[in-house]
């Protein structure tokens, strides 16, 4: 265990200190996040079964799951309270990953390759 890590320990693991309340969330806080996550999941499934929302299903689902993703990463993985360097080494590749997903969807579904078509039976 390096000295640095031990220093960290005293910040993250310390009890009773009140000067930086955000850096050591209590278990109640975690449970609350858990409840929110559950509610969002329930909402996602509910939205899926509501015929009236068919048209806007995709954006709603993307927003909801994005929210869940952010909650877990920010609070359970502590990025919200931790060094911005951790956020950097995670978010930069994450953006590339999103770029790859979006680019490939565009390249195959919006601008599909092939400059012409023949009928499916051929």
């Amino acid at each position: 265990m390096s000295a640095a890590a031990q220093d960290q320990e005293s910040v993250v693991g310390g009890t009773g200190s009140t000067d930086e309340p955000a850096s050591h969330p209590t278990w109640r806080f975690y449970v609350m996040i858990g409840l929110i996550l559950t509610v969002i999941t329930a909402a996602e499934v509910a939205v899926f079964y509501i015929p009236a929302l068919r048209g806007v299903l995709v954006p709603i689902l993307l927003v909801l799951s994005g929210a869940k993703f952010a909650l877990v990463v920010m609070f359970y993985m502590h990025l919200r309270f931790d060094s911005p360097i951790f956020s950097g080494v995670f978010v930069a590749p994450l953006l590339l990953a999103v770029l790859v997903v979006v680019a490939l969807i565009v390249l195959f579904h919006v601008l599909p390759h092939g400059m012409g078509t023949i009928s499916g039976s051929g």
Partner: protein, 365 residues
Amino acid sequence: MIGAGELAGGRGRRLLNPIYYTIVIVSSALLGCGQDYPQSTIDPASGDFGAAIHSLYQTVFWWTMLILAVVWGVLGWVLFRYRARPGGPEPKRIHGHLGLEIGWTVGAAIIVVLITIPTIHTVFQTQREAGEDALVVEVIGHQWWWEFRYPEQDVVTANELHLPVGRQVDLRLWSADVIHSFWVPRLGGKRDLNPLVRKPDGSLAINRLTFTVDEAGTFMGQCAEFCGPAHSLMGLRVIAAPEPEFEEWVERMKTPVEPDSGSLAARGREVFMGATCVACHAIAGTNARGRLGPDLTRLGARTTIGAGLLENTRENLAAWITAPAEFKPGVKMPGVAEEGGGFPPTGLSSEQVEAVAAYLASLGR
């Protein structure tokens, strides 16, 4: 946009083409002789597609030469002027100069824009839709030969693509097996032949290539995407002829050839129709309707056999039928004594082979 008028007289234009001129002079000096390059990309004498690319190439070429001259010029000067000399002064340790750096960044950006604009213009120009009256040809790649179908003319041929001069052609390209690439450098750039893949709407994606040939002649090309053992031996030829001649060719393709009865060719025909040949090959007007191998209609009129591999003579035909794998590694056609493409050896005697060769050669008349 390059009009047809500007494209006439390819040979004359070649002399006005500075890049071609320079390289040929240099190469002649180095290699000791004048040299002709039938597959040259910088001598696209014969079509709008090739000419559009070439004109863009010249723009890019001269920009890059300018950059090269600047970089090498500065480098040469620096190496000469600032070499360490005994007793020379200690260099001033400057760390940079913002103005200069912005200067060459902006300079590079301007050149890049000047290249990008004509590039994108040409991208759209060379990928435009073919006109209504364009000649449609389906180009299908196989390991390792080319199938050409003319749906409107109801003609199928292989390895030699006949096109009319002056009429736009609309090639529809796909592959029956792995990816190939259609490339006839003097007519323009290449385009891949992809295996048929279903698009989300249920249709099958194919590629297209549109151009007009402006000069009669034979143009060499070959597959440009590595496609397995005999990739190097997947040649093709484009034979461009004036429209009437092209129409004549179409008519000939639709007229069956009957060998004289009692001739060697007639015996060959009998052997051919009774052997495994017909499982793969088709000859218009006969019972041979196989589709796995090249269509042999009017084979005798082709200049080469085996996808540009051998000159089309009776001897070569016989040698090819006897042992095709000797000429083309991995070939799917069985020989007399070797299996091929999952088919057993044909087991033909040498007399039978001679007869078949005579029959195929006779299909040219």
